[in-house]
């Protein structure tokens, strides 16, 4: 599993246009860093074998997104594999769609990162009772709201315009998910106490990687994710 080695190969001006020059499905993606060797720069991080370091700069942001999408995809895969009791046809349809979106996001980042991707995480969903609708939907709401705040918080750290656009394309879909899950729970799409920056602004919150990962790590088995240099 890739852990901390990408620290050494992240530069602020990596070969941007080489991002996602896919040879095609099934072929190994030519990832960002494979072509960025000419601008190596140390991130100043001491390798810590006790964590999965997401890396720094834009690459760190991509791995950060990849990690969160892995957790979401694994969660919804489990939801559909073992549906909660009393699930309706419409709920199955919604949750299957969301699962497929999250899998698409996960595979997109995996392919984009190529050999620089962190490994496959082993989720720990022991706190979630997959047989219980309320438990599942509450967890889904937590994941979606967290994901939106994570993308929103990462936006201003992104140095490469193409990545910012891609993050923007994904975050609004996560927000659509969040609102739908809230609807299934009988909660409004924007709830001042959870989602909004402060009462009366109607600006959604942004959260920094450390805050987000502090929550996300509760759902990761083994080494925790470390994002202290993401975007830096």
């Amino acid at each position: 599993m890739k852990t901390t080695t990408q620290d050494n190969i992240v530069g602020g001006s990596m070969a941007r246009r080489s991002f996602l020059k896919f040879a095609g499905a099934g072929a190994a993606a030519v990832g960002v860093v494979a072509t960025a060797a000419s601008c190596n720069k140390h991130g100043g991080v001491v390798s810590d074998p006790q964590v999965i370091d997401l890396g720094s700069g834009d690459l760190g942001i991509l791995n950060y997104a990849y990690a969160l999408e892995q957790l979401e995809a694994a969660f919804y895969t489990q939801v559909i594999a073992s549906p909660f009791s009393g699930i309706t046809a419409m709920e199955t349809s919604y949750l299957t769609d969301i699962r497929d979106h999250e899998v698409a996001h996960r595979e997109f980042f995996k392919a984009a990162l190529g050999s620089n991707a962190i490994g496959s995480l082993t989720p720990n969903f022991s706190k979630i009772n997959f047989a219980d609708r309320t438990s599942v939907l509450a967890a889904a709401k937590g994941f979606e709201d967290l994901g939106v705040s994570a993308y929103n918080g990462a936006g201003a750290m992104i140095k490469t315009a193409d990545y910012l656009v891609l993050a923007g394309k994904i975050v609004s879909v996560e927000a659509r998910h969040a609102a739908l899950i809230r609807a299934l729970l009988g909660v409004y799409p924007v709830d001042d106490s959870i989602v909004t920056l402060s009462a009366g602004t109607s600006l959604e919150i942004s959260q920094d990687p450390l805050t987000v990962l502090n929550v996300a790590n509760a759902f990761v088995s083994g080494k925790p994710l470390y994002g202290g240099n993401v975007g830096k």
């Binding site: 392919a111 609807a183 959604e204």
Partner: protein
Amino acid sequence: MDFLNLLNDIQTADPEFADRISPRRSAIKNITSFGSKVAVASLPFAISALFKKAYGQSLSSSVVSVLNFALTAEYLESSFYNKYLSYSYIPSANAAGLALLKTDETNHVNFLKSVLGSSAIAAPSWDFSGGSGSGNGPFASVETSYDTFLALAQTFEDNGVRAYKGQATALMGTNTVLTAALNIHSVEARHASYLRRLRQLRGVSVKPWITGVTSGITGLNAAGTAAVASIYSGEDNVSQGGADITKLPAISGTVAVNAATEAFDEPLTMAQVLPVIALFKKP
């Protein structure tokens, strides 16, 4: 307190923020202690004042242009909800939820105006029939039809999502403004999802996410359908960053076309959005 988290977030996102609002970094501390003493209700004004102080005097013309573009879209939404939520066709079961959307859009208008200060454009007058002032456009039934109301609300919100997304890169480098725009962008997407579900529950063939170029705008005349179709053009894109999403692995096989289009919302340029807004604007 969220407000204090915001300050931390801003400092994280924009290390020069403290310098922007004061040559001495004590400004943040001052505001922090100030924030703990003021009523929560006044915080939005404190935040707006802060943004204005940080950027109001130094917004570049291109950023002003982007923010006024965003303000135009927010005026449209805010005016729309303000007008029609008093109509008798609004079901009582949905009144509270829709009222929250109205509040959000009004807050967005006020926020953008406060950031823009004297550079803010004035609110246009609107023709929600889509007749550019004739009052007899393809959506004239919005005066009597809840379904037309929902269809228009959905298109305005989806349009807003795409419009903000299309401006993100123009705000790079102005981190506080970019983050604020992103924080509005995701709220618009939540609204769109909410409205789409309301329509779905009334039998319209839409989902909370955008499937291909399908708008689900039916039962209106051809001109109306064509007018809003441009808000959905390009949403059938399956190529992201050079990758064909439909060739990536899925739970079984590869990602289906519908899932590939739904999983990524697409941006619209200013040039694509303005003609749609013009349909609803009085000259």
